[in-house]
Symmetry: C2
Subunit: 273 residues, 2 copies
């Protein structure tokens, strides 16, 4: 099925996108074509906002001996932090500690501002998956995580959007991460402390969400940084995220030892310091 | 002087924006008109990235007894977090602890990726000012500052862009914040630990910067949260930020006691928590 929109975000920006999809599906048997080995872009290519949640799986929080949080821990990525579901993810050699984070993602389908939980739930267009690949060394440069979370084209998103009427993550979807076929994370989306509706409601208290915006809901136990000793992805590794009902992200890792290290190889102090 | 661009960002996206400005300035004496009491938008209305730095004035860091940081503390705002230089800033009553932060802002004039400090310095189009108004209660919900830093339309930006050839913040510009005419902050941009070139170089190590992007460089001592007892802005207050050579942001504060408190008046837990 193909639709006259450049990406899922521009489809969702159409006020009657549900009708558009329904009409297109009505003719599906005649027009559907299976793409063989498609080179997909991120399922939403230009979200105006990419908001992510940390510390959000109850089992993982409890096993770390921490109390359940009262508020979601939020940070952002940029639209160009995203990459396709089967793209090679390349980071420079000096971005050490590249780690996996399998996540359920909510895609916004209607404008939201100061929304109740119910309104937020109704505004979710559907679900997709992400690998919130994190450069732990840069994430820990300071107390604010941004640098390690926003390396260019390091967050695979996709492979498809499954509309909200077809899938209910609060009822429990298995979320798995594999590194070279070894299972490293296996969580259940029913274990989220703040489910997607709660997250969207909270976010919309301070900032407007628009159709096509994406909210990453956090990762379950089993990240490399929490292993003893800590683990990191290496050149040539293949990392896969699988969300039941949505599909698989399959991303080879490439470590680039030629990338300019200018900002890293010397102190970044300016001014009079 | 008026130019055929919708805002400063779209001007800066023109590959030869310096020539465009120069030609326009050549005819300035004939065409210049002074706007009386203009209702200005933020000087850049739609930056693709708004990156901000905390903990960046050496004097303030030393007076807090902390060591100078090795890396800049970075967080983001959204384009719609910005507001005009003389706009009323409105926050809901439940967004308690609204605080001022006078800042120097660098506006990016050329694409930057993994840039050296010198390349970053050369890519700065010019300078403007911001008030990084912060909702301290929401900033402290968790360790990540985003919610308190990204309330809708709370960051005045402007009033104008002064091009880099006309002003040198590393040589020292006085940055002042006044609340109802009382001076609450007075800093000097020469006191920045990471000057703008260092910040842009560091940011460009992980993410691409584009013409029209803005980087807020941090605030000097004197914020309300650090006062004894802590101070916050109240309904009817007027807060002004003045950056020597750039101008004044003049923003009345309005506290809205009618805003929906849905996401705030009850725990935001979903799922199984």
């Amino acid at each position: 099925m193909s639709l006259p929109f450049s990406d899922v975000g521009s489809l969702l920006a159409h006020p009657s996108w549900r009708d558009v999809v329904e009409s297109a599906l009505a003719g599906r048997l005649e027009t559907s074509t299976e793409l063989e080995d498609p080179d997909l872009a991120p399922v939403v290519t230009h979200p105006s906002k990419v908001v992510c949640c940390g510390h959000n799986y109850a089992g993982h929080i409890r096993e770390m001996g921490r109390p359940l949080p009262e508020h979601p821990t939020l940070f952002t990525k940029f639209a160009d932090t995203l990459t396709g579901p089967s793209d090679v993810v390349t980071v420079p050699e000096w971005a050490t500690g590249l780690d996996w984070e399998a996540e359920l993602v909510a895609v916004v389908g209607a404008p939201l501002y100061r929304a109740t939980r119910d309104d937020a739930a109704a505004a979710i267009a559907g679900w997709t998956a992400a690998n919130d690949l994190s450069v732990r060394s840069w994430q820990r440069h300071t107390g604010q995580w941004l640098p390690g979370k926003a390396f260019d084209r390091t967050t695979p998103l996709g492979p498809v959007l499954v509309t909200a009427d077809e899938l209910d993550p609060t009822a429990g979807l298995t979320l798995t991460c594999r590194v070279n076929d070894e299972i490293v994370q296996r969580g259940d989306t029913a274990d989220l402390v703040f489910d997607a509706a709660a997250l969207l409601s909270y976010i919309s208290a301070f900032t407007r969400l628009s159709p096509g915006d994406v909210v990453l809901t956090g990762t379950p136990a089993g990240v490399g940084a929490a292993a003893t000793p800590p683990r990191a992805l290496a050149d040539g590794d293949v990392v896969e995220v699988e969300l039941a009902g949505v599909g698989v992200l399959h991303n080879p890792i490439s470590i680039d030892n030629t990338a300019v290290a200018g900002p890293v190889s010397r102190p970044v102090h300016g001014g009079t310091a």
